[in-house]
Symmetry: C2
Subunit: 296 residues, 2 copies
């Protein structure tokens, strides 16, 4: 169950009345020397930019199998009444399904595959486990925007993740274009931590998974980050993989195109960075959103 | 004051309970042979795709002067109490100012400049006048999406524009990127008219949040149009001009980037296509939104 609340809060957020930019206290790339699966240029790119796009990482056959699984989960989700299934604001359309690595064999296999884990262990410099997994269904026509955020800010404040030693892996299950609401990242922003204003309400996750209101960076900090690093929108064919640091600032615009933008999303955390009590002092979020159990 | 309501409705919309795609009855390009200011390839591109992007059409000096005018109108608008000034839904921030070609010398000069009008007269094959003009202030961070629509559908139904013989000219006063909510167009869609479904019946009133609004194309028609033509997002530096046909399907996603996307917007209509009574049978919209006076 991790360490106790005596863990020092290196990244305080949602405690002051003015936003603040703090410097990162942790490495981005935890290994040096060669890796079996990442070229030096790729590792350097990840360290400097906070993300790495791996085009056609999965074969068309592997991708097609995942797409079949996704469709079947989406169909099942339409009638499901369980907390892992999140719906769009203002409608019953399924937006996300959590804990898919736990509940579905195909996604369990994917989350534990050496092909992915080898790279992740290299970047994080240790064994890893799944902190969170989900499938996102971003439908065509009505796909809503996700405002800018650092995932780590939430995982730190609401889940008690002590250090920046985690990353996200997004596997595209549809082709991504610049016009169907792809993920936008701010290169270099992983090195700066935007301490946000405002207190976290109780059970914030019940609303924030639909629409985030707390842990939102202020305009001045956002301008500064974009002045430093610009905005990248890595796009490519289905089967591509985007790895990005837990603290990189990212978001996505709405999607009015007819093209959906579904993906599988795994968060890997270092086993040396297990969750403490949430730094908000509130109750931890449920296990299906932030696994305290490190076995997978 | 245009013709009377006996004008035949070639493009009925908002009258049937099912959407329908009608073929265009009018040319896109009304001139043949050479034009002084458009190359043949440009004219052909406009005819086939329904739009034309003219990068760096205005010099940096001309653009900077327009930007100064824009800022001064924006500041003046903050305290203005007149219908031409439209504000953001939940604040006093100015969103658009209409009829700028009528009320401000710099925009009058721009709207009547031979540099623009020469091209527009060539495309529309006649003398032209301003049907509508406005400045749009699209802020960073909170720029809202505009869902897909054909301008002609509205101008026909609500303003009584009889035929497709008009075009829009959007002058970028900020750099446009693919990530700050640029205009998206569907090439070729100018040749098809999506007749939208009628007024929401009384009994469905309670569902109005999720209900399609007036003049909104249905998903099946949108899929078909995008299958035919794809999606283009012409982007470029400030001072660029985008010309697009009155019936091309277009829209824009939200803008969460820090970069605003202000522009000047002129609609030119052929003097041979003057407004009749609105085909909706309703009262015409006010003069500052749809000029019935054709003198400028």
């Amino acid at each position: 169950m991790g360490t106790t609340q005596t863990t020092k809060d290196l990244y305080p957020s949602r405690v002051k009345s003015r936003p603040e930019i703090l410097e990162r206290q942790d490495p981005v790339l935890y290994s040096e020397g060669t890796s079996g699966s990442l070229a030096k240029e790729q590792a350097d790119f990840y360290r400097d930019n906070g993300y790495l796009f791996l085009e056609n990482f999965f074969s068309p056959e592997e991708t097609e199998q995942l797409r079949r699984e996704l469709r079947s989960i989406w169909e099942e989700g339409a009638h499901a009444d369980r907390p892992e299934v999140i719906r769009e604001p203002n409608s019953d359309v399924v937006r996300s399904v959590f804990a898919v690595h736990r509940d579905y064999a195909a996604f369990h296999a994917l989350a534990t595959s050496e092909k992915l884990r080898g790279i992740v262990r290299y970047i994080l410099g240790s064994d890893v486990y799944i902190h969170q997994s989900r499938i996102n269904f971003k439908p065509g026509f009505i796909g809503k925007e996700f405002y800018w955020h650092s995932d780590f800010e939430t995982w730190h404040v609401e889940d008690g993740m002590p250090r920046m030693r985690a990353l996200s892996c997004s596997i595209a299950l549809e082709d991504n274009f610049h016009y169907n609401g792809p993920l936008m990242v701010i290169p270099g922003s992983q090195n700066h931590y935007v301490a946000c204003v405002g207190e976290t309400p109780d059970e914030n996750y019940k609303n924030s998974l639909r629409k985030q209101e707390y842990g939102t960076p202020d305009d001045e900090s956002m301008k500064w980050l974009v002045e430093q690093g610009g905005i990248d929108t890595p796009t490519g064919q289905k089967g591509s993989v985007l790895l990005f640091d837990c603290n990189i600032m990212h978001g996505s615009a709405s999607n009015i195109s007819p093209f959906p933008r579904s993906n599988v999303f795994f968060v890997f955390n270092s086993v040396e960075n297990q969750l403490a009590e949430p730094f908000s002092g509130k109750k931890p979020r449920p296990e299906y959103i932030a696994h305290r159990d490190t076995i997978i």
